[in-house]
Homo-oligomer: 521 residues x 2
């Protein structure tokens, strides 16, 4: 890419600018036939393009990579004769840790990617290719974690990880430098700003912070390798810790008027929220890959060998497949649960108008638990009936469902704190859909909690209780609107049966705020 | 869901209609703070929602399921001592057939899903849940194909497949009936039409056609099971065959003015093209899952056992990992190739304004070959150097890359046939970006072809040639714009060196059609 090419692209842009006024007008007749509206996707003219699809593809890649480390966890063989407790201990120490580490680091990388492409809003071919190189490096990170977990004393894993992050940082810096040399690729706010150099340096500083820490970590690993783990932990968790602390402080001593400097410590643009579209796209990817994880295994492993069927089952395929019955059940159970959790997430984000970073953080935690669901469901159906292992597997499933649901509920609670900014008027406190949304979000945590305690008390019937839950929850979602109505009517009947005027107002459902707030709280 | 609930939701809708005029106005001040524009995503008010995210999630699920059956193919163990030819024969007969069947049936289901949700443009909770049930059934289809392939004489696979399709048909019919009972969920074209009942019956007829054929196939399987396979093949391939025939006929005897009836044989709405957004979303999903397929395996399988490292490599992790060197190389190679093919696809669809059904079909074929790439790359690096197997694996890789690329090129050629309708003016024949786009699309097929023939001639250096290709192609994409310019300048210099006025016109790049057409053709 010599100077020739540089001039070339800028020339192209100037042309494009001219074209926007010129030939677009004579292209108008044909655009009437066009089904979509290509204009809002960015002019497909010369060098520059809208970044929309690049971001969608990056989200898909990142969501797959975030959840991929659950596979080694799920494929760990648990023998019937072992106590689950032991094997869970084994899982917890390494594989689940690797899964969670991967999930968190990928979401950190994803958040950084969002920030970067909030600054760079248009792309050209060169940026698209550089972004693909970044993606390739990020998809390699889970493997370095596996190495670290398997060989904690060996520094190779750390060095590989640091190497990937550093190269990634360099590529991202190149992306930033490239974009700032072609300002028409940038966010309008920066494009019209006089301080472009300040922005550029600031963004480069933020980007290079992590690679530089990794550089020190890799040097530290050569001397005392334990130190480098501490440094890595700081790198991974710093954004999370600082966000949580900030949020807690704000809630404790009230909203502090933040200086632009502190605001921009982790963001490039002041007041830029997390992109809601990308949170949705990333979540969709995670939910989709998690929902299908078990069918991947089933398609590969649960087709019996023809010779085995002939010998052991007398050629009767139905009998042979009955062995795999629990796997099918686990698949349908986990698909339904993940699908319904997606449904709740979908409903929630329909009502959210702006996703703050703290809501994004809670969403990440929720997704991390969702990733564990297929594993939990698989365990549930893997042990002999009424064994201690089975009971514990069912209880673990309940705990995972509970946390996946409760973090979704937490997103909603956090959103309610700033409801003027983050929620649609309909679902704000006292709004018409408020109670219904609350019911949707509370359904899974409540059901999981009830199932958990029921299995504790009636441990003999734990499987039946669990299956009953699997069947009733989808039905409950279908009739939830009806249930909420009946519940509210009952509440009213119990607490204020003497105020028929109030009830009539509710039944007429006029646009005033519905007066069930005093009842619910 | 009694009558109560019905009345309930309609009531809600009426409210919503009223609200649109009413309280929205006093909500306006707060909506100024909102970052996104929630209005274009559908009012998140009461019952109804925009279907946007539901479709994105469905696309993600379907694209994962479409590509999942490549995993059993990829995991087939090929021993070094066997001839690849034999094992390829084995693969071809069952697993690859299952993969292609799955891919095609899922894309058929996906096309039906697009058609359905072009009619139903808004959803409510009930439709979202019914759609999830459909998805669950579709994700189970690959497993029925596995059963059919492993036990061709057993009718269980066929019965399971037909059962899934029939239940799916019933759920889709329920979706249609539900949507038509709440006309505000429908496409505006139908909403304002007086012929709603006609549309409803027509759509139900189209939807039920496949389940009814499956019903006959399942009955036939009870008598002569070979017949049911024929019926299934017709079900799967009929849309493809009829589309191809129609297109060939149109090209042979000219565009026939179609009667509305024949138009609507496979579509619900006249003149409704394939949704371009959904083609992009589905393709993104396939490219993303295929790009990461190998890292999934690497993360799970290629972490050496600590005891083995201690015993066999004297605790030296680097030596232990060198064994896996070929796997890493295969990963980076396949990720880069898939990523670049995505990049070409992305560039192509930036310039496409409308995707016809035939273009969608070619896209499906291209994606089906892309799905085979990780497998081909894995084979490439699995055999000892300079063996016959390695040579064949490299040639298979070239063939797969060639077909994946050539079908992308075919999309472009087909689009050029109706360029007024399907392409942006910039890239139409003679447009400013035409040659550059052509170069992008032709790069991979040409490189694959050249590599293939070079490996035939210089079979001793096949690996080096292949690695060279892997490295040069990304670089070639980076400097492609420059290369095209140089190439065009050379062409001009050779064919018309005596017309400097012409060259100057080109260099000035004005908006008249650039006169290199007579040169290139």
């Amino acid at each position: 890419m010599g100077r020739n090419d540089d001039g070339d692209i800028i020339e192209h842009h100037v042309e494009e600018e001219m074209e926007k006024k010129g030939p677009r007008s004579h292209a108008a007749p044909s655009s009437l036939q066009e089904s979509g509206s290509p204009s809002d996707r960015g002019g497909p003219g010369s060098g520059t393009q809208s970044s929309h699809r690049l971001l969608a593809y990056s989200d898909a890649l990142l969501s797959i990579i975030a959840t991929v480390m659950i596979l080694p966890v799920a494929h760990t063989k648990v023998h019937d004769d072992e106590e689950l407790r032991e094997s869970v201990q084994l899982l917890l120490t390494t594989k689940i840790a690797v899964y969670l580490m991967t999930f968190l680091i990928v979401t950190v990388a994803w958040a950084a990617h969002i920030r970067l492409f909030q600054v760079i809003v248009r792309i050209d071919d060169c940026l698209a290719l550089l972004n693909l190189a970044c993606m390739m490096l990020i998809t390699f990170l889970p493997y370095t974690f596996s190495l670290m977990a398997t060989f904690p004393d060996n520094i190779l894993g750390i060095l590989l990880f640091c190497g990937c992050v550093m190269v990634n940082g360099v590529i991202q810096s190149v992306i930033v430098l490239y974009a700032f040399s072609r300002p028409f690729l940038l966010n309008e706010q920066i494009q019209i700003s006089e301080n472009q150099t300040f922005y550029k340096n600031h963004i480069l500083k933020v980007i290079m912070r992590v690679p530089i820490m990794c550089f020190f970590a890799s040097i530290a690993s050569l001397i005392v390798f334990q130190l480098s783990y501490a440094l890595l932990a700081i790198i991974i968790f710093l954004p999370y810790i600082s966000q949580s602390l900030k949020w807690c402080r704000n809630k404790a001593i009230g909203q502090v008027e933040e200086t632009p400097d502190s605001m921009m410590f982790y963001t490039y643009l002041p007041n830029e929220p997390l992109s809601k579209d990308r949170v949705e796209a990333f979540s969709d990817g995670v939910y989709a890959i998690v929902a299908t994880l078990l069918i991947l295994d089933i398609c590969e492993d649960n087709v019996p060998d023809p010779t085995v069927v002939e010998k052991e089952f007398g050629g009767n395929l139905v009998f042979a497949l009955q062995v795999y019955g629990p796997e099918y059940l686990a698949y349908f159970g986990s698909f339904a649960t993940v699908g319904l959790l997606w449904f709740v997430h979908h409903s929630l984000f329909l009502h959210v108008t702006k996703a703050t970073r703290f809501m994004g953080l809670l969403n990440t935690f929720s997704l991390a638990f969702v990733g564990g669901l297929p594993l939990a469901y698989q365990l549930t159906h893997e042990f002999p009936r009424n064994s201690q292992n089975e009971l514990e597997a069912i209880q673990i499933s309940c705990v995972i469902i509970f946390f996946a649901g409760i973090f979704q509920l937490a997103i909603w609670v956090v959103a309610l704190y700033n409801e003027q900014e983050t929620l649609h008027p309909y679902v704000r406190y006292g709004g018409r859909e408020h109670v219904f949304m609350l019911a949707k979000l509370a359904l899974y945590p409540c059901v999981a909690l009830v199932t958990f305690f029921l299995t504790c008390i009636l441990s003999k019937f734990s499987t039946s209780i669990f299956h009953l839950m699997e069947i009733t929850v989808p039905v409950a979602f279908l009739v939830l609107r009806l249930l909420v109505r009946v519940g509210l009517a009952l509440l009213r009947l119990i607490f204020c049966p003497d105020r028929p005027d109030l009830r009539r107002v509710v039944e007429e459902e006029d646009e005033t705020r519905v007066p069930f707030n005093p009842l619910v709280t």
